[in-house]
Amino acid sequence: MSNSTDRRDFIRLCGKTAAAVAVARAAGTPLMAPAFALENAPRVRLVTKDGGPLKARELPLYANWIFHYPYHSSPALLIKLDDPAPPTEVEDKDGKAYQWPGGVGPDKNIVSYAAICAHALSYDSRESAFLNYRRKRNQMTGHGRVITCCAHASVYDPAAGARVLAGPAKFPLAAVLLEHKPDTDELYAVGLIGSELYGEFFKAYRKELRKQFGRAKYRKMVQGDVIAMPVAEYSEDAIEC
């Protein structure tokens, strides 16, 4: 896939904040500056628990997986959808439009979003994962094939930049930019666009994040390899509602 090569090179050439622009260009869509793109976004390879690379083809269909990005303590969902997810225009918290670059992988159906609710910051922790992707219709809202936050029933469409389908959230989840290496089938997380909430996230959970991830580490950016695993394995409770 030449797109991903372009993207990678572009990032190298132009530096960090350009990641999203590069993705939009690579996806063959009109160039639109993202409303927000994380500066100095790390580029990390996703690996499984045993340390080997997570291959796109081996990620199960309908996967509801978790990894930590861009910080050691900030969770992100990794999802494999039924269908290819084309690039979509969505609006951030200030109403500014940005281009979500769409799914990656051989079937363009692998997507990733911050697992921190845009409504009231509920997130996926070891103890409880409030945000999950499920294919079946949930009881609380009647929506299927969506990410639901079970605390206040916000529903996001993972196939469309996590735009809000229902509930109190007013803007999409931040999107993690993925890259797929067609030759090795590996997946990389390379950036983050949309409505960034990490300042509030750290403020709200400082105490528990320090405890779980370490005082020195919890707000440091990840690097190298990052482990991804099913939410149901990571968390004591992948909350259904």
Partner: protein, 452 residues
């Protein structure tokens, strides 16, 4: 405020205004230093009512939000979000916030009290508004001045979100002295603070016998609250091995909300410790002999938390905004835009509203964002937009293991029929996972109201 009051304020000095408008009353006089009731004391004029409140100079349109509950806290925060130029003053007399939502969980020992307690200073500092610790005494809608126990405040917009008061006459208690006794001995514990602490102490002290709870008629605060509380106390009796029984008296023929979920909890979990009496209205209470009278006979109890019918906070009546046709003394306001008819500078929100929305935290929180949007739109000369409040409400029906049920609903207005529920979704099957979501529901909204 009444026309009468307005004229007086315009034409006469404040002291005369106090007298004529009758607002001085016993409370104000007493607060001013033990003056004789009924006469507006000269000292009062030199007191807080005659000086300006200590506030930073306003840099933009000032909005006074009266009441720091779920409604007022949300409105104050989202006014600033809608328009950072607003100068927002939250007027609330309590020294700290205590949450009524989730308080049943604390009563049952499921969560610590610090989950319910929050700082008004944090809320104000994190969200760029000012907390003024005081109570509204009266306000002049023409001059746009509010007199508070912390001084007077000139404003551009005022929002009243004072919550509820209890109507003890609904329990067959007409004598205010007996009502006061009842309120002291068997507090309802639906206005957070001392009432809740008192109920918790009662449960700690409870040895054996009947504990009476009741569901009030009409639209009351926290529809599932009495049923959830019955479950929580029954669960506590079971866990502690207390030889007690909860008797829940309900004027309705089934629980007013999440009926299936509550009834199966009553049946499956609390057969021996909980009696649920439907279609049963309390007609009288003898506090000293510990007897509740109903149409079907008397219930003798060891202890009780008696929940009278709810009315809008008395403040609404005191400032002349009550709808004379409202059985629960609620405010007369526009049902879509929350303003007093003909006055786009005065609003009422939260549990004093006349619309039959659920008087609950989630409703007040979602409504508060809408009200903030309405005021911001009008301040900018734009058309306001109505949006339905959202009622998301969890109830923990078991504490060991923790299991909850939930409902999610919105409201719509139909011509000829009035207000009704829409988009209702209920999960009546209790689950451990919903119990986690139940607690996170509260945490999330505390973050919303008190965090940045």
């Amino acid at each position: 405020m009444s026309d009468n009051g307005k004229k007086v304020v315009d034409g006469l000095g404040r002291r005369d205004f106090l007298k004529t408008a009758g607002l001085a009353g016993v409370g104000v006089a007493a607060a001013m230093g033990g003056m004789a009731a009924g006469s507006a004391p000269a000292a009062a004029v030199a007191g807080p009512l005659s000086r300006a409140a200590d506030l930073p100079k306003n840099k933009g349109p000032r909005v006074v939000v009266v009441g720091g509950g779920w409604s007022g806290l949300t409105i104050a925060k989202y006014l600033k979000k809608e328009n950072p130029k607003f100068d927002v003053v939250l007027l609330e007399p309590s020294a700290m916030f205590m949450s009524c939502p989730l308080s049943n969980l604390w009563l049952g020992g499921v969560v610590d009290v610090d989950l319910l307690l929050h700082s008004y200073l944090d809320a104000a500092r994190n969200n760029g508004y000012v907390w003024l610790q005081g109570m509204l005494v009266q306000f002049d809608r023409e001059k746009r001045r509010a007199w508070t126990t912390a001084g007077h405040v000139d404003y551009d917009y005022i929002v009243l979100a004072p919550g509820i008061d209890y109507n003890y006459a609904s329990l067959g208690v007409k004598d205010p002295a007996v009502a006061s006794t009842l309120a002291h001995m068997y507090p309802a514990a639906f206005k957070p603070g001392s009432e809740h602490l008192s109920l918790r102490n009662k449960l700690d002290d409870f040895e054996e016998g009947v504990f009476v709870l009741n569901v009030p008629a009409g639209n009351y605060r926290c529809m599932p609250g009495p049923y959830e509380r019955a479950c929580i106390i029954a669960s506590y009796f079971k866990k502690e091995g207390i030889k007690g029984k909860v008797i829940l008296l309900d004027p309705n023929d089934k629980p007013t909300i999440k009926a299936e979920g509550f009834l199966s909890a009553f049946n499956d979990l609390y057969k021996d410790v909980l009696e649920y009496h439907t279609s049963t209205t309390i007609t009288g209470v003898d506090p000293h002999n510990k007897v509740v009278e109903t149409e079907f006979g008397e219930v003798k109890f060891a202890d009780a938390a008696l929940y009278p019918r709810v009315r809008a906070a008395r403040l609404i009546e005191d400032v002349g905004l009550v709808d004379p046709n409202s059985p629960q003394m609620e405010a007369r306001i526009d049902h879509f835009f929350y303003n007093v008819p003909g006055d786009e500078h005065t609003y009422v929100a939260g549990d004093s509203r006349p619309m039959p929305f659920s008087k609950s935290g989630n409703t007040a929180n979602t409504e508060g964002k809408v009200v903030a949007g309405i005021i911001a739109a009008r301040a900018a000369g734009k058309e306001p937009k109505w949006e339905s409040p959202n009622t998301i409400c969890y109830s923990m029906v078991n504490t060991d293991p923790r299991e909850s049920i939930m409902v999610d609903a919105k409201y719509k207005f139909t011509k000829g029929k009035g207000w009704g529920f829409t988009d209702v979704r209920v999960i009546n099957k209790r689950s451990r996972q919903l119990a986690k979501a139940n607690i996170e529901w509260g945490r999330g909204l505390y973050r919303d109201m008190f965090g940045a």
